[in-house]
Symmetry: C2
Subunit: 453 residues, 2 copies
């Protein structure tokens, strides 16, 4: 018999991995909750009519489609089978944004706006699997919809700060604004070439000013337009300085000035609130440009080379695709897999995430077991994860079990201990053993350093 | 444009529902963790070769199959399309048990046995949707595999007790044993008719002794065999009494006596450990009979009429289907949807589950907002879920928002409050308002009754 396997691009998460993942999810969820965001879950399957056409042609191809249930082929003609709609009407969700938009439109009458929701669920993409790219992965999205207030952008920055401070990851938050990018294109007389210009700006660090100019010329910009772009390619200083320079360059673009005003407001709030999160205005940030309409966010880890670990922005027409126009929202998504990689790479997981059980009671046979079970019950009642080895196996085997599972404490209650009313508590990391009165066992496991000898 | 919808048999979970669901999941997870069970997650999709043939013919039909990605129909002949294996090689998991077995076999070299794991993930079944039956629903499974120790059964009873005690649901745990059922059939000379006999016993309450006897005759039992079954149909008393009566009836069946011994051992542990969970030996319990090999569990709510809310049992050959024989395990599954219905029906959810935000700061314009944001930050730092209304909207609108979202406290910082260094804190449930010094705000929200006036 062949050893069983799982589909390519999917993963099992072992207990060790799950402990770490749950730590990340719990941390993120805790911050979302503290900011008043409410949980939402949508079904794994959506109607294909909900999903198709929302992610571009490429996205449509990457949808996992589900066969209509029943013996679909039996009663259908060859022609019907060939028409995908006859054999598949449902697909697995591709992201959490489209289902969120669908939910808001479907339930608009029941919702209270502004609607603040978070959603942490897996999504599926039929991408070619490769290192770091999976066909099933979690997204952790937080959005507020139904207000244009820039306090929401400020709050998202605070959330980014709190999440990564809690996880111990040093980050820089890069921000840009779609309106500024449009303003730049408009100011040099090429409102139609916003994307070309942004892509070129993005390459500045890599290929240098002269090559960027050459590329812009190749994309159809005349020398005068490139000349007018020059100050923007050479913005310098902190965010305030960049904004001051932009303000003069974009003086002729109403949209551009609006974008600058938005960024000033956001940066002003962050300064007054003393939010200790490095935030950097970065004009090369082009994330989701054909989708976002205002602020754009992207978070990078400072001490670990990996793509962005979080990102998002403001959108003014998320629900328009489902017939509910002019609802503005802003959101950000945390990438659990990359955060996991950063934390593993930098050894940032706390020690308590390395084991599921704090204490193992050794099983030494009927009489000792009775006492161990009683003590075990008390330890668990104190909220400590604990267990007893289910069989009176050889001591060596039981100790090996504790070792392999990374259990930090082993409690031994043998005949001698029974007589003395104590347990021998072994610290598996230091190898030290000490005798602990039964009544102090839970406290000794919880705070070994302060427990009575 | 048509209002968007979701596939039949699937559900959106609103924030109000999610808060309640998370409360149930967190409670169950907390108990699983305290007993030393480790989390595991498997992919939503499994290879069809893993899933097919594991749930019977009916189960095979209820699998959701996923179309192979890419333009599957384009390059295939009609004949190939008709062969399901050419267009679908993956399916959505049907339960958590088969993926668990697959995982154990696939990773047997890395695992430490006994392996204690819990798994809380959705499963999918292409069942005809109806009230209380969904095509996507969560299962919460806890299993220990790799030991025959009956301490595991005892531990599962303790877990049942702790979960439902924490949730406030009064329950009875019904137990049976596959070996006893086999023993009964064997003792009356009809080892082949175990299922018929069990089904008949199950009807005793409903149709009465005489009708049961008639049914057994109809199923091919001769009068003498039915006569020998009579004492079993009339078992009375508590578990000890039932076991004593069974012991004499099943004296000739080695398997039956083994089953009795198992139950005696389990009941003995429960009594010595003073586990305050009503447990009842119920010979009519036939759950998963062609699958379990020892103890069988089923939990019923005492105060709410609904099917079983938890169930499980011991299996001796879960992994045999994947080529790893003779590994015994025992597990139990909690039905989140039914538990949700019981708790809603009996109003058992604690008050704090009814809202996601503890306190809303009213937004009264730039100057007041600045102070409110500062206070908000302090309240959040104290671990309290709080928010500010993102716009300086009319007071009435902001209060309505708090009301509709069920936010219990509204903090008002107007010009008068600014001057006095206090916030007006309104308890939205009682309507009472009081003035709280800025520094005491977090404490006042957390414990309104004890906060300084």
């Amino acid at each position: 018999m062949q050893k069983p396997s799982i589909p390519k691009g999917t993963r099992d998460f072992s207990p060790a991995e799950m402990m770490r993942r749950q730590y990340i999810f719990d941390t993120i969820r805790g911050v979302f909750r503290r900011y008043g965001f409410a949980p939402l879950e949508t079904p794994s399957m959506e109607n294909l009519s909900t999903l198709l056409g929302k992610y571009g042609d490429e996205g449509d191809k990457l949808l996992f489609k589900i066969l209509n249930s029943g013996d679909y082929a039996a009663g259908l003609s060859d022609e019907q089978v060939r028409q995908a709609s006859k054999i598949s009407e449902k697909g697995l969700r591709y992201d959490l944004t489209v289902p969120f938009a669908r939910y808001v439109v479907q339930h608009q009458g029941e919702l209270t706006f502004p609607f603040k929701r978070y959603q942490m669920q897996p999504v599926w993409r039929a991408d070619r699997p490769q290192k770091g790219r999976y066909r099933e992965f979690y997204q952790c999205d937080v959005d507020v919809i139904g207000t244009r207030s820039l306090l929401c952008e400020v709050e998202l920055v605070q959330i980014v700060r709190d999440v990564f401070a809690a996880l111990g990851i040093r980050t820089v938050l890069k921000m840009n604004n779609r309106k500024i990018l449009y303003g730049i294109a408009e100011a040099i007389g090429h409102a139609d070439k916003m994307m070309d210009i942004t892509v070129a700006i993005d390459k500045l660090d890599k290929i240098g000013l002269d090559n960027v100019k050459a590329e812009l010329a190749g994309r159809g910009l005349e020398p005068e337009a490139i000349e007018r772009l020059q100050p923007i390619l050479q913005l310098s200083g902190d965010n305030d300085a960049k904004i001051a320079q932009l303000r003069s360059v974009l003086a002729s673009s109403e949209t551009g000035l609006k974008g600058i005003g938005e960024m000033e407001t956001i940066f002003g709030y962050l300064k007054r609130l003393e939010v200790d999160q490095p935030v950097e205005l970065d004009l090369s940030l082009a994330r989701g440009l054909n989708y976002y309409t205002g602020a754009i966010f992207e978070v990078k880890a400072l001490d670990y080379a990996i793509g962005s670990i979080s990102g998002g922005g403001r959108y003014d027409d998320l629900t328009g695709i489902f017939g509910m126009p002019n609802v503005s929202g802003v959101g950000i998504s945390f990438g659990a897999d990359r955060i996991y990689d950063v934390m593993t790479g930098l050894s940032l997981f706390p020690e308590e995430v390395n084991h599921t059980t704090e204490a193992l009671f050794v099983n030494l046979g009927a009489q000792e077991e009775a006492k161990a079970l009683e003590l075990l019950r008390g330890v668990r009642a104190a909220g400590i994860a604990a267990e007893i080895y289910p069989e009176a196996a050889k001591m060596k085997k039981q100790m090996e079990y504790a070792n392999r599972r990374g259990i930090p404490f082993v409690a031994i209650v043998g005949s001698e201990e029974l007589a003395a009313g104590v347990a021998t508590l072994k610290d598996m990391r230091s190898g030290e053993q000490r005798r602990v009165p039964f009544v102090e066992l839970a406290a000794a496991i919880r705070r070994p350093e302060t427990a009575a000898e």
